[in-house]
Amino acid sequence: MPPLIEQPNAATDIRDAFFNEVYLLAQADRRVMVLTDDQGAFALDRIRAELPSQYINVGIAEQNLINLAAGLAIGGMKPFACGISNFMSLRCSEQISVNLCAMNLPVTIVASGGGLTYASDGPTHHSIQDAAVMRTMPNMKIFNPADAMSTAACARLCHQSDGPSYVRIEKGQLPGLYAPDDNFSPGLSRLREGVDALIISTGYLTQTAVKVASELQFLGIDCGVLDLYRLKPLNTGALLTQLRQAQRIIIMEEQTPIGGIGSLVCELLGEHGLAVRVRRYHLPDAPCYRYGSREWLHQEFGLDFLSVARGIADWLLSNETA
């Protein structure tokens, strides 16, 4: 008997939280197939070892991986197509568009290494455009969870979906933000209340946003935090409710300023005539040839919690109009 899989917690590697869930789904549903572009993760290895007929290492051929997933889905299977974010989202954007999205097939793309996860590997591995590109894909659901619990929930949500999904998963251990019985169907979650401003973030930077809000508390600034873990379909009603209540809005994203959650929120504000001041923290629209850890690069680009907290404090306390 395999050991029981425990509920994910802060000590669970995020990838394992996701693939443990996929393992359980695959055990219960033989239509689940896991395809990888030569990725390894502890829980993925377990699927390979224990459910070999539901696992294929396709090799380093992502375009074919997406095509295969499309064929499998048309043939009645539920594929999880796993690979490195850029090589799935950018390299295969056409296969995703015409084979998954236009045919609305139940394929889940599992994108590892979102944002600056592979910090020192340079711009080929910096996934800072994928949210924008995936947002243009019709029928696509986009998930960008920030902790183990919400990441595991995404695996279930994707499996239940009858259309394509794109989920960006983190790696390593991150503090838990959610409880086991939290409901993830709304697509966004208010993690912290606060009246002075609202920080909206997604994925890894939601962890930073929580730290920013705690830091600002020491300065007497009361910031709320909203985790936008589903970018598409957007829960427009719930997001508008949050935006209407906000005095000021801060958006943090590990993407370029084009097409990600900053664009998404500003589009919504404009369409609904909401005159609220917005400040955006993001990566530059440029390839990054600076090498170091993810935290160091965040400092370089002003995305670390101290830079953001300082920026927000200056903005709020100086009563700037911009």
Binding site: R30, M33, S53, I56, V58, G59, A61, Q63, N64, I66, N67, L68, A69, A70, G71, L72, A73, I74, G75, G76, M77, P79, E94, Q95, V98, N99, A102, M103
Partner: protein, 312 residues
């Protein structure tokens, strides 16, 4: 001499029965089934020409080159399908990877009974169900295509799913030779061979022409068959305009003992059936007009009549 009423064959529109004359030979030794298929192919060619002439657009060269392959698959008793129940679970899956040859597919699907003559006639008009590439909302179409180089990988996924779910149907993928310039074709080919997808059959319409050039002048494919062999496929090279050759190549397709996927390299001519198209490069998506249209009509209907008369 066996008397056959050729008229219904020439005038057929829908619901042709694939095996009407299978196995019947007249006393001069002619295979009447082949004669029937030639008539059906001539009918398909006539539809392709009229569709493209009426719409003022379409891919005539590649549609005419793969007509005989499609007629062999759908009317030669090769593929299993059910026009009354297009989603019948036991059907063979077919992918037109060279999706731009859609006029040939629409005519063949009409001949097989998936589409009505009225639907076919609507091709090229505003609001038509039939566009310039196949989409899976059309009865008889399992996979939407149009972007070249992707059908073989999708077909490999379908074949893999059938294996995992213990289903016995086959998956057929028709590729153009030009699309074999796309690297993803070879990613799919390598995968299919490694995973021994012997329920996958690829057919390459080897008409030697892309839009601007002969393939061998642009970026040579030859030795083409060797490339497929090197990728692990069983290769059969056939005359893609000979029904007896095509049917013989497909004969054992359901009971091959070989554990490799099968590719038929069908030697064809772009624009087959219209002499001035066969002779020149440039009929990828040109539309015949005026005297050329008249000549094309005459040649196709002559083939049709001659086929019927000379052989019967």
């Amino acid at each position: 001499m066996i008397k056959i009423d050729i008229k219904p064959l020439l005038e057929q529109v829908v619901n042709s029965k694939p095996t009407q004359l299978l196995g019947r030979v007249d006393n001069a030794g002619l295979d009447l089934f082949v004669v029937e298929l030639e008539c059906k192919a001539a009918w398909v060619r006539a539809q392709i020409l009229e569709m493209i002439a009426a719409a003022g657009k379409g891919h005539i060269g590649g549609s005419l080159s793969c007509t005989d392959i499609l007629v062999a698959l759908y009317q030669g008793g090769v593929m299993h399908y059910s026009p009354r129940n297009p989603h019948w679970a036991g059907r063979d899956r077919f992918i037109l990877s060279k999706g731009h040859a859609v006029e040939a597919l629409y005519a063949v699907l009409t001949q097989a009974g998936f589409l009505t003559a009225a639907t076919l006639k609507g091709y090229g008009t505003d609001g038509s169900q039939l566009g310039g590439h196949p989409d899976r909302s059309i009865p008889g179409v399992d996979v939407s295509t149009g972007s070249l180089g992707q059908g073989l990988g999708v077909g490999a996924g379908l074949a893999l799913a059938a294996g995992r779910l213990q289903q016995s149907h086959l998956t057929f993928v028709l590729l153009g030779d030009g699309e074999c310039y796309e690297g993803s074709v070879w990613e799919g080919a390598q995968f299919a061979a490694h995973h021994k997808l012997c329920n996958l059959v690829a057919i390459v319409d080897r008409n030697h022409q892309i839009t601007m050039d002969d393939t061998e002048d642009c970026n040579a494919f030859e030795p083409f068959a060797d490339k497929w062999r090197a990728f692990g496929w069983e290769v059969r090279e056939v005359d893609g305009h000979s029904f007896s050759a095509l049917l013989s190549a497909f004969k054992d397709v359901r009971k091959r003992t070989c554990n490799r996927p099968l590719v038929l390299i069908a030697r064809t001519r772009k624009g087959r059936g219209v002499s001035f198209m066969e002779k020149t490069v440039g009929w990828h998506h040109r539309v015949p007009k005026g005297v050329q249209l008249e000549q094309a009509r005459r040649e196709i209907s002559q083939t049709l009549t001659e086929t019927g008369q000379s052989n019967l």
